[in-house]
Symmetry: C2
Subunit: 220 residues, 2 copies
DNA sequence: CCTAGAATAAAACAGTCGTTTGATTTAAAC
DNA sequence: GTTTAAATCAAACGACTGTTTTATTCTAGG
């Protein structure tokens, strides 16, 4: 039936795109891996690019919904006060990092794909991700502003920017145990995901809270 | 003469790879942009992949040499003591961020390319970058350990890992003014690079120095 | 049973890919 | 002026690209 064919193709595409990239993965590779006919790809999606769009929506919709749900929940629990900074960060970085360990929902494969899409300035690919990511940023920025009232909007933006970078890089390398082990010189055996979150959130909290913003320049 | 042909191709390849990625950029696009014959590519480099290797070495060698030079210099200035954490970070994140503003040495184009190579799990591409990056990590890890003696090796690795992520993401988006302006909602007009470094280094210093490593888990 | 429409299948479309070939031009050495 | 090697050139190689076409199978609904 149709549902299996479509989902088989999405899963195969996710895996192959994550391994080889968008351009280097051909429609034939996808249909072969999914064990469906070549023409099924254009029948169900219309084109290779539309398949990419559907693939990201398929995975990103639940992920970003979870982030917003958690933030709503933490804000409700906090009442009038802004939630603790750690809670906001948990809602932001927790879901993707935990998702990276859930094979049923894409897991490490999709995380690799996401990391790639962030830096793949391909004509449309990156825009797809930003379209999905925009509402999340617009919701978390004022939440962070309330929790960090001492920061100017510009300072807050930069720190949020650095935060996204630390998260994205962590998610990405978390998807490849071999790479992590290699980079750490064997020190890190990639304990369970909760420990990663427990390290990342204090790291980011300390950085976001720090008051020393622009110290005197040291002449180089 | 040969030197111009080779360099023209490297510059054209850098620009096109940064715009479209490795797979989506054909040899014909490169040779057309460089205004050389199609066969010149295989004559001078042997293959498309060998051109990629030469391209990264061409740009990364001077960059990483600069990082190590700065660290050597700061350590010499500090004598017996370890250099200030801010100095170590300056040596690590300063050169690539400043390079991203130097059009003569690749500038934003190469930074985009570098960001892409980090997440492009293409067969060999990523390995090329890690081969170049490895010695830098091995030199900076003990330097950071001396400046942060209260951190266990594992904790230090994770924090260094997050640091690399914040840097990489910053470098990458710094390469695209439009993207930065869009993400910030117009708040950030991307002031000069020194200001970016001046924001990133205190951000990372506070995060690296913080003592609260693993707070009690909040049940989700 | 029969028929509409959804789904799958095999084959071909024009085009581009990385690479190679063989001939021709350029530049310097003797 | 001849020789030799480096460099450039046009043309072609087979393989693979995304997409389309045409035909066949499957699966309800009447």
């Amino acid at each position: 039936m149709m549902l299996n064919t479509k989902e088989n193709m999405l899963r195969a595409a996710e895996s192959l795109f994550a391994q080889h990239g968008f351009s280097a993965t051909s429609v034939r590779m996808i249909t072969t891996e999914a064990d469906v006919n070549l023409a099924a790809m254009h029948y169900h999606f219309g084109s290779k690019e539309k398949l990419i769009v559907e693939l990201f929506a398929w995975r990103l919709d639940p992920l970003n919904r979870k982030r917003l749900e958690l933030l709503d929940q933490f804000e409700a629990e906090a009442g009038e006060e802004p939630p603790a900074l750690e809670k906001i960060l948990e809602a932001f970085v927790g879901p993707p990092i935990r998702l990276s360990r859930d094979p049923e929902r894409g897991g490490a494969l999709f995380m690799r794909l996401l990391g790639r899409a962030f830096t793949d300035p391909r004509d449309r690919t990156r825009q797809i991700v930003y379209d999905q990511f925009g509402p999340v940023i617009q919701r978390f920025t004022p939440a962070l502003a309330r929790a960090l009232p001492h920061l100017s909007p510009e300072e807050l933006f930069w720190r949020f920017h650095f935060t996204v970078g630390a998260m994205a890089h962590t998610i990405y390398t978390l998807a490849d145990e071999h790479q992590l082990h290699q980079l750490s010189g064997g020190v890190c055996h990639m304990a369970d995901v909760d420990h990663t979150v427990d390290r990342l959130i204090p790291f980011l909290s300390a950085a976001l809270r720090s008051r020393s913003s622009c110290p005197k320049r040291s002449e180089s």
